[in-house]
């Protein structure tokens, strides 16, 4: 084990760094992760984060199950993933070290809180106290910095009137201060944050500030660290940026679409991990006239949204796998009634309750086919935290302009992850064309709610519109009057029309583009949704290593972009990496009859770029 005690404080400049903060779920890891993220964003780096916490609210203290992690990758150029392996691992206790050591780079840096390696903690982590990793030689080769953070924190707060539990809770600030110093950062953003958070709680505020600064100064004066590092701000497109988390972006996308289309936003849903934060975010902005309705279950959630849509609101709901399963019947009703409705599925590990806090992409086929009868509807997917905004907005646009329910797929990874976002101005948002029926005179010909325009879209007449009274329902309907029709020919025609209507949306979405590479590349990596960052990183690295691959990421899954088949036809080899057992690949093989190969990871975790690179190289051997 190398304990560095040199005196040189060189300021090293790095291109990018990955830090993994890990500790017990009571240690405030997520909080310092978020603080460091905001600080990094403000500093101007590009970045990507990956919070990873246990399913339990407070999993048993000190155990492997209780470990909470927050990984951040930041750099001076574009960053697309939270990083495969870390440069720095902060381990607040034995369990967090044990669990995460494999994620550290060779010769990486470990910062440990030695107080977390006492007998009790070792036992809880399932480590024989005789085998304490800090004292056996298992960490040889890493740069280990041992600090008794707990003790330092207590020392700092000797005078404080806070209880001992509350004092100990400040120890995360010590770590944060310590890291801020190493990466040459200002404490301001966190001081600001603490001042806002503990307004009115002076004691707590002062304690936190004190420990934060103490961590900073300790790094400076203790000289445990040989170097101070700097990651220069990234070259990014000029513009105004903010940091954004995926679920928050989704919520903002819905709000923006309501604003742009001049509609009221209605959200009906039932809490479920990892989708609840969309509800929480929307509920914060009720001054936008947003009606959030926490229903008794997911069925009521989607049904209330259907009711609101019938009433003329922009109606939305969000859930995750099990909840989406429950909504299937009602979604079919929305398909039949041809009302706008946005359904967000923040996917998580399945099947059944599965792995609620882990990420997965395994609900794509459910989105496509999880309803009785022929019930086609658009399915789109977001590819990064900030793209959740764009795609939520698109989901609303398509729903309103094409009178249809729309599925937006995100997942736990991008929903909880964060990245810098060059946010748009309200004025720059794509227009959304909302056509609602005007009042009609009594003398007019009978109103035909199912008459369609050239995109096969029917008209929207909302209650309160005189002369357009009509009845909708789940029984098959006559193709013009919308009245119940059992006519065999009408049924076939309506099934075909509903399918054609959705297919025609292909004319109103962007063409598929290659993200990198060319159509004459040897191999195409075809991804969808949240695998974007990992694939992009892998493709770029491969290309820079001279491997001729191309990368395309599908965001519009049903219908596919019109030119997708043409693009695919250029490649001999197509690899489809998915965080499932092979779902997009089924759609691609069925539709285009190409022998695409899957790369499937079903571990509740995103791809490492390395995993994709290896697979590509295998295929090119």
């Amino acid at each position: 084990m190398t304990l560095e005690k040199e005196n040189t404080q060189v300021k090293n400049v790095l291109d990018k760094v990955t830090i993994l903060y890990a500790g017990d779920s009571g240690d405030g890891i997520q909080l310092i992760g978020n603080q460091f993220t905001n600080n990094t964003a403000l500093y101007g780096n590009d970045l990507s984060t990956f919070p990873d916490f246990p399913a339990e609210i407070r999993a048993p203290l000190g155990t492997l199950a209780g470990v909470s992690g927050f990984q951040i990758n930041f750099g001076n150029s574009s960053i697309f993933t939270p990083g495969d392996l870390c440069d720095v691992l902060v381990a607040m206790n034995a369990a967090s070290l044990k669990k995460n050591l494999s994620r550290l780079k060779k010769r990486g840096t470990i910062i440990v809180n030695t107080a977390g390696f006492d007998k009790k903690n070792l036992r809880l982590a399932g480590i024989d106290p005789a085998d304490n990793p800090l004292t056996n030689s298992s960490l040889e080769g890493f740069k280990v910095h041992e600090i008794d953070i707990t003790k330092m924190t207590r020392e700092n707060l000797k005078e404080s009137s806070l209880g001992s539990k509350e004092r100990d809770r400040c120890k995360n600030m010590f770590v944060l201060g310590f890291i801020y110093w190493i990466y040459n950062r200002s404490l301001d953003s966190t001081i600001d944050f603490l001042e806002r958070k503990f307004k009115g709680k002076q004691e707590v505020l002062q304690a936190n500030l004190k420990v934060l600064k103490s961590g900073y100064h300790f790094a400076d004066t203790s000289e445990t660290f040989s170097n101070r590092f700097e990651v220069k701000p990234a070259e990014m497109q000029p513009g105004k940026y903010r940091n954004i988390v995926g679920n928050q972006a989704t919520a903002l996308g819905l709000i923006a679409a309501a604003h742009r289309s001049d509609m009221n936003l209605f959200y009906g849903g039932y809490p479920i991990t990892p989708a609840s934060d969309i509800l929480h975010e929307l509920a914060k902005h009720k001054n936008f006239g947003i009606k959030t309705f926490q229903a008794e279950d997911e069925i009521a959630g989607v049904c209330s949204a259907i009711g609101a849509s019938f009433g003329g609101d922009l109606a939305t709901t969000a859930s995750s796998g099990p909840g989406i399963a429950l909504k299937g019947e009602a979604i079919g009703l929305a398909v039949m009634m041809e009302l706008p409705l946005v359904l967000v599925n923040v996917q998580r590990g399945g099947p059944s309750t599965g792995l609620p806090t882990k990420t997965e992409q395994s609900d794509l086929l459910q989105a496509m086919y999880g309803r009785n009868g022929e019930a086609p509807m658009p399915v789109i997917a977001a590819q990064s935290p900030s793209d959740c905004f764009e795609m939520a907005y698109e989901a609303c646009r398509i729903a309103i302009e094409h009178m249809t329910p729309v599925f937006l797929l995100t997942d736990g990874y991008i929903a909880n992850g964060a990245e810098p976002w060059k946010f748009p101005s309200a004025e720059a948002l794509k227009p959304i064309v909302l056509k609602v029926k005007d009042a009609r005179a009594e003398e007019d010909a009978p109103y035909l709610p199912y008459k369609r325009n050239e995109d096969l879209v029917r008209e929207w007449a909302v209650p309160g519109t005189a002369g357009a009274e009509h009845r909708l329902g789940g029984l098959e309907k006559d193709k013009e009057t919308g009245n119940v029709s059992y006519d065999p020919e009408n049924h076939q025609e309506m099934v075909k029309i509903r399918a054609a209507k959705v297919n025609r949306i292909a004319k109103h979405i962007p063409k598929q583009e290659l993200d990198s590479g060319t159509t004459s590349s040897k191999l195409l990596i075809l991804g969808w949704g949240s695998t974007y960052g990992s694939i992009k990183t892998a493709a770029k690295e491969l290309q820079s290593e001279g491997v001729d691959v191309a990368h395309a990421q599908i965001r519009y899954i049903h219908p596919f972009p019109e030119n997708l088949g043409e693009i695919l036809s250029n490649f001999d080899k197509v690899i489809i990496p998915e965080l499932n057992d092979g779902q997009l690949i089924k759609l691609i093989r069925d539709r285009y009859l190409i022998d695409a190969k899957g790369l499937n990871k079903i571990k509740g975790l995103p791809f490492r770029a390395q995993e994709i690179k290896e697979e590509v190289l295998n295929h090119l051997k």
Partner: protein
């Protein structure tokens, strides 16, 4: 929501204006016809333009109802009309919303949304067509069918103790609970009017004869010969009197209701239980009238009318108020500010 709320020209409407052009598809003789007729005839009295009225139903024979009303309507999916109406009313408090549901639709598959609607107290009207059977699926027993009922799915008799819909509603904190019957058009119309006037969820259980699969379920209360002996019509502030010759009454002896004869017994009309719509404890006794000693010699008559009514804020009013308050607190919506968030930087 697009701008649809405008000054409405009030026009005198008749029941006929509320009939749609669709052929009615119920079995001849079905009790649903009479209920439809009363609803159509009460509509003009509400003074609401027909485009501001919405009928929402689930699935079942009764749930075909919206097709026959020349208003806005939705024939949704089984059991979910209550949930759909909740969203509709939250989004459009200006509409008059009527939920049409059956005993299966509301109390079997839809039981959960039903009780949650009641506790939330949206200002809507629920017409529960109780025929004590699943009509549309051709005659299985329902959650209100009597124990031991022989049906297609229970040839040897059903085993489940039935719900008492009004007791359940009281338990779910409903603010308006009433019962009427298909064959008493005048009473039904009156109750419908009162239901619409109540601010909050008005639950009206309507006994409805399914002459195909459960004929005569309510004949005790409709047969000319003895219906008056078997029914008591509740009126607020009036004593509980019944019988063909209005010669019977009910007194309350502690928590026990007893029938007395106004002729023979030593009681006068002044001794009788005076109906008080606002008394929940008494309502609890009233809704269980026919259960407690139905086999006794003094089996009590079935009450019809408004059992209970309470003033409680509606969900949509609270929601509207909250939205206004939030504007006051946080200011008018500013999308640009929202998109920018608290911390931004320039590149």
């Amino acid at each position: 929501m697009p701008e649809v709320l405008k000054e409405k020209e009030q026009k005198k409407l008749s029941a006929k204006d509320f009939a749609s052009d669709q052929d009615i598809r119920w079995c001849p003789g079905c009790g649903d016809y009479s209920i439809l007729k009363q609803v159509q005839s009460v509509m003009p009295e509400l003074g609401i333009p027909k485009e501001d009225i919405v009928f929402v139903s689930g699935i079942g024979c009764s749930s075909r109802f919206p097709y026959y009303m020349n208003t806005y309507g939705m024939h949704s999916i089984h059991g979910r009309a209550t949930a759909i109406a909740s969203g509709l009313k939250a989004s459009r408090p200006d509409l008059s919303v009527w939920i049409i549901t059956g005993d299966g639709d509301s109390l079997a598959i839809g039981g959960n949304h039903f009780i949650h609607l009641l506790r939330r107290n949206f200002n809507v009207n629920v017409l529960l067509f109780n025929n004590q059977i699943y009509g549309l699926t051709k005659g299985q027993y329902s959650p209100t069918s009597e124990l031991g009922k022989k049906t297609k799915s229970t040839p040897a008799g059903s085993l489940d103790h039935p719900f008492n819909p009004l007791a359940l509603s009281l338990g779910a904190d409903a603010t308006f609970i009433a019962r009427s019957i298909d064959r008493e058009p005048k009473h039904l119309k009156e109750i419908l009017l009162r239901a619409e006037r109540h601010q909050g969820t008005s639950l009206v259980e309507i006994y409805q004869n399914c002459n195909i699969f459960n004929d005569g379920a309510f004949s005790t209360f409709t047969d000319k010969t003895n219906k008056k002996e078997n029914s008591v019509y509740l009126e607020h502030g009036k004593p509980l009197v019944f019988g063909a010759e209005l010669d019977k009454g009910i007194i309350l002896d502690g928590f026990h209701a007893k029938i007395v004869s106004l002729k023979d017994d030593n009681v006068s009309i002044d001794d009788l239980w005076v109906h008080d719509e606002t008394d929940r404890n008494k309502a609890n006794i009233l809704v269980r009238f026919f259960e407690d000693n139905a086999t006794d010699a003094d089996a009590r008559p079935r009450p019809f009318g408004i059992f209970y009514q309470e003033e409680r804020g509606t969900y949509e009013d609270s929601l509207s108020q909250q939205l206004e308050q939030e504007v006051e607190l946080k200011g008018a919506p500013d999308l640009n500010k929202l998109l920018a968030g608290a911390n931004t930087w320039k590149k």
